[in-house]
Every structure is written in structure tokens, then in C-alpha cells.
Amino acid sequence: MSMLCETLKEDFLALAPLALVDTDYKAKGYQLDITVAPAQVVEAATIMNRRGYTLEAVTGVDWLASAGPKPAKKAAPAEGEEEPVEAPGAPVAEQMEVVYDYTNTGQELCRVVVRCRIPRANPELPTVSGVFSGANWHERETHDFFGIRFLGHPDLSPLLLPEDADFHPLLKDFRV
């Protein structure tokens, strides 16, 4: 684990995230996996910004109960919003996950994944486009695909879909 990762870990522990996991880069492709509450998303982005990171992508994952993977653990944690999620990536039913991929363009490699779970029925969380300008388009795209509303985003009109699109194709229950 590099120095940078250690510093970041300290930064994030101060933030008290829901989960913070060191992952095996060889197996996963990233070093730090951090799960935060929706309210902490902007805070997390600010930390990354302060450390000179860049936002590579924002995306969503739709964890629909019927479409999700067979429960890897004993049972899917029920409505575990407050409850810390131990294994990031493990499916949590009826939730949306928003994933922020951060990387830095310095010489030290430490890829950080910040994720945030929001209820599927009311997918809302604050925007980070105030911190990273590039998040603007990524969040618009995520809104296109999943209908996740980024509060405070300057313009959530469809980016990739037609201007008048009212569907969200990457939802697991999407039908034409």
C-alpha cells in the first residue's frame, strides 16, 4: 500500500464512511473501496479534489431484487441504509448504487472507488459537479440511464438520449 493510499485512508476515516476496504489491486483493479452515505458524497469529492485527484467516471448500478445476483452472503441485508455494508459490490436489493471512480495523474498509483447507496424508490443525492466540473456530464449520463436525480445539478436534461426521452434504459426493469 502506497503512501498516498494511507493518507487518503486517514482523510476518509475522519469523514467516518459507512465502509472503507483495502482491496487487492491485482484482483479488482483499484486499491481503496469506500462506501459513503449520500450526504457525504460532496465531502468525499472535496477530499479527493484536495489530494489532487481527478474524477474518471460516475456511474450507477441498479440493484433490483428480482434481477440481482443470487445472494452471495447469507441473506441480502434488508433496507440497510444506516447499517454499514461490509462487502462493497455485494448486492443490496431495491437500491441504486452510484459509483465514483477516482484516480490521480501523479506518479503514485492509488485508484479509489467511492460508492453510495440510495433507495431505488427515491434515487436522489447531491451533485459533485461543483467540485469536479467533469462530473456534470457524467451525472447527466447517469440520470439518463438510471433516473438518479443529482440535487443541485445545473442541468439534468438528457445528454445521450433524445431531448424528450422520459425513460431510463439501464434500469433492470426497463422495457420498451
Binding site: L161, P162, E163, P169, F174, V176
Partner: protein
């Protein structure tokens, strides 16, 4: 009434028509209009090795008003469809359309159950004269497509057709 009873007309409109057809067939100006991957092969067809210019078809006009043939090279998305339709409408008669590549023919690899984004073939929007299959078709295929269009216009083929086999 046999054919022989008809007197030959003084003014031969058929010959004039043929002249017009020859003129049009040998001067097919395509539109600078690429949608996706196929557009690169379209450019390659105009470049040194394949040289579409030999047939007088290298004058890629950027304005639809000055084009004769629209080469639909790539996938037409539903968002793009109105624009493509407008471009077609903006071209003056007589005009032709070549659907280049599988996407323009049928949607190609992007057709699946529940697809929400693409138009499954350029012929859903306007009449298409020549279809060139391939993903993407080689530049030779595009040249063959142009020759095919010439044949369609004049009724005669420029060169003997090469039969597969």
C-alpha cells in the same frame, strides 16, 4: 400492333434521356456525411489506394444541396433520424441513397430485443437504392456499390461483373 409500325420520332427523347442518365451516373457527388465506423472506410475509398475519383465520384460536397448521392455510412440513432431525414429532403432531385454497412441496412449488430436507440435500417426513413453489406464494408465494396448505382441509373454496367466462385 408490332413494333415495326411505329415511325421513328424526329426528336429522340430516349437518346436525350440516355445522355442525361450517362451524365448523372458518371458524376455522382456524395455528401460529406459519416455517421460511424463506415465513414472511415468511405474516406479510405476516396484516398490514394482506392481512389473513388476515377469514377468522378470524389467530389464530396458538404452541402446536401449539391449532392447526388447520400452514402448512409453508419448507425442511424433515433435521435439522429430526423436530421438524416432532413438531409435527404434537402437534396435536390434526382437523388440516390446508398446504405453502407449493416447498421444502415438493418441496424446490424445493434439490434436486440428491447433496443431503444437505433433505427433499424435507413430504408425505414427513405428509399434506398443500393445496399452494401459488411461491418464495415471494404472500400472496394463501396466502389462496387457506386458501380451498382451507375448500373441502376444507366441500365448498363461499366465493367463486366466479377462473378464469385
Amino acid at each position: 400492333m408490332g413494333k415495326e409500325n411505329l415511325q421513328s420520332a424526329i426528336v429522340q427523347f430516349a437518346a436525350l434521356d440516355q445522355l442525361l442518365a450517362l451524365g448523372r451516373a458518371n458524376s455522382l457527388w456524395p455528401m460529406t456525411f459519416g455517421l460511424a465506423c463506415c465513414a472511415i472506410e468511405m474516406m479510405a475509398a476516396g484516398a490514394s489506394r482506392f481512389d473513388l475519383a476515377r469514377f468522378g465520384a470524389e467530389v464530396f460536397r458538404p452541402s446536401p444541396r449539391q449532392c447526388d448521392v447520400m452514402i448512409v455510412a453508419g448507425t442511424i440513432s433515433k435521435k439522429m433520424a430526423p436530421a438524416v431525414q432532413t438531409l435527404y429532403d434537402q437534396m435536390p432531385e434526382p437523388k440516390w441513397v446508398i446504405a453502407m454497412g449493416n447498421c444502415a441496412i438493418s441496424g446490424g449488430p445493434f439490434v436486440f430485443e428491447g433496443q431503444y436507440g437505433i433505427v433499424e435500417g435507413a430504408d425505414k426513413l427513405f428509399p434506398v437504392d443500393v445496399f452494401i453489406p459488411g461491418c464495415p464494408p471494404r472500400p472496394e465494396a463501396l466502389i462496387e456499390g457506386i458501380l451498382e448505382l451507375e448500373e441502376k441509373i444507366t441500365g448498363t454496367r461499366r465493367w463486366p461483373r466479377v462473378e464469385a466462385g
